[in-house]
Symmetry: C2
Subunit: 304 residues, 2 copies
């Protein structure tokens, strides 16, 4: 049976030179299903009390693919609710991993209605994308691998959307290397985590517009609790800063990464004075992006 991969942690010399110290990239774009979401989905499926009933979720993104994969690896069924306007490439990926696809109308109401109708029949266990202890525990393994491979990190930069990965990484760091500071990295245009963190009140993101499409979701109550407790701060970056970091990663580091992964890289650049010279790491969360949408690089802007 396949399982979660211990992904490579690489320190591209071009980054380290600019940084003045080792700067590690945790390559979850090379994870099973090409995103860290495989970790949470795997753990949630492994811990099911009634595996024979199968699992269900509504997601056309990486969580949907990951859950389909984790279910198949455990020989159970995964039902994935997908809105009819989801990109064909994502639907194909879910199907490739063996997911049973249910098309619904766009919008959260239609999704939940469709899901409830299916669950009424089959009693599948709903696995949400982040606000769930088993999912968070799965993402925690990403942080554990990082600090076990490199225990002397000053900081760890993690993108934050729903906060599952950030929570998990912060929990792992708190246990293994509590002197490492963990920062959430978020688009300015979807800064609910920043607002929530600063105010101590859970903010909702509304309907944010950012190219970092994996980070449009808001925190959940469970993830917010962990983030308040174990995260040092949350930094935000503009759309231009994200786009430029993304283009740099693609054109100079030659890595295929989703725009969400460029957010920590953009934070590192923006706050270079703050991080410079200290050994650090960031999570490259996934690589599921349509190649036709990869950015061009404006040489005149440079990056480092």
């Amino acid at each position: 049976m396949s399982k979660i991969d211990h992904t490579p942690l690489i320190a591209p010399p071009i980054l380290c030179e600019a940084h003045g110290a080792p700067l590690w990239l945790k390559c979850e774009n090379m994870q099973q299903t090409n995103s860290f979401k495989a970790r949470g989905a795997w753990n949630a499926v492994k811990k099911l009390r009634n595996p024979e009933r199968g699992v269900i979720t509504h997601s056309s993104g990486n969580h949907g693919q990951a859950l389909a994969w984790a279910a198949r690896m455990h020989n159970i069924q995964a039902h994935i609710i997908v809105p009819e306007n989801a990109p064909q490439v994502k639907v194909n990926a879910i199907r490739r991993h063996g997911g049973i696809i249910h098309i619904c109308a766009p919008g959260i109401d239609a999704r939940e209605e469709t899901m409830n109708a299916i669950r009424k029949e089959g009693k599948q266990t709903f696995i949400p994308p982040y606000n769930h202890e088993d999912v968070i525990e799965g993402q925690r393994s990403c942080g554990e691998e990082i600090v076990r491979d490199q225990p002397d990190l000053d900081f760890l930069l993690v993108p934050v959307g729903g906060g599952g990965l950030l929570s998990g990484c912060a929990l792992a760091v708190n246990e293994h290397t509590p002197n490492t500071k963990v920062y959430g990295c978020e688009p300015e245009n979807a800064d609910d985590a920043k607002k929530s963190f600063d105010s101590g009140m859970l903010h909702h993101p509304g309907n944010p517009n950012t190219i970092a499409d994996g980070l449009r979701t808001g925190l959940g109550d469970i993830t917010f609790g962990y983030i308040q407790k174990y995260v040092t701060d949350v930094f935000t970056v503009s759309e231009d800063e994200i786009r430029n970091a993304w283009a740099f990663a693609v054109h100079r580091l030659k890595l295929i990464i989703e725009p969400s992964c460029a957010v920590p890289l953009a934070v590192w650049k923006k706050h270079h004075h703050y991080f410079k010279g200290k050994p650090g790491a960031m999570v490259i969360t996934g690589g599921n992006v349509d190649l036709a949408k990869l950015p061009s690089f404006d040489e005149s802007l440079g990056f480092i």
Copy 2:
């Protein structure tokens, strides 16, 4: 002054699992100028007897970029002869690294005529792309890094075009870990190295048609000598095999690599029975490819 980077050596779990042992990728696509050619150019420039005269070469490919970069890092001039039909993206890259571009008519006669006219005036030193001891010595550093980082390799797979990298890697392995077998990897459609190796006579490639555009050149007398002496064998693969390996690297490993780099990956797959279970490595030679030309992946073919 910037310098040659010690590039990451990564072992993607998805590959290692299929291989049944560690399988390392030497990421020269993350090297300065995004190809191993920086190594040879850097060493050749460093060893110049008359650096003040500058250097010259005819290449619209990675060697041209690398020589422009190495010259600028040493504060000397690089003149690069480029045929008028060269892609604009390559011309821009040479200019970005500070090369002085001379456009000539297509064809080897026009190139040499243009080069000779410029050299008559400026006495620049000609740095050829591979058949030159200083260039080979530069490429050798790539092999040295690999076997120093991973001394217990059973095999090393290296693409072969002109043979500079293959010669250099074979020399390094012979010195440091002589039990590691070094194999050249070549497109069937440009199998001059295979024919030369098998017959003991230097074959010329003619005008081969392969997507592995970095491997269309033929061996030189110096590189052929080293290859005869230190290389175990040369393997060839078809265009379909190269294309499929390339698509796998892009879509599953999420690495941006040139089609030439896919040749060792295709050799590994084709001769899996031969390599399986033995710790090995291959060189990912460069990442300078137009993103619009990246391949799609035929899921039905799979790869591993």
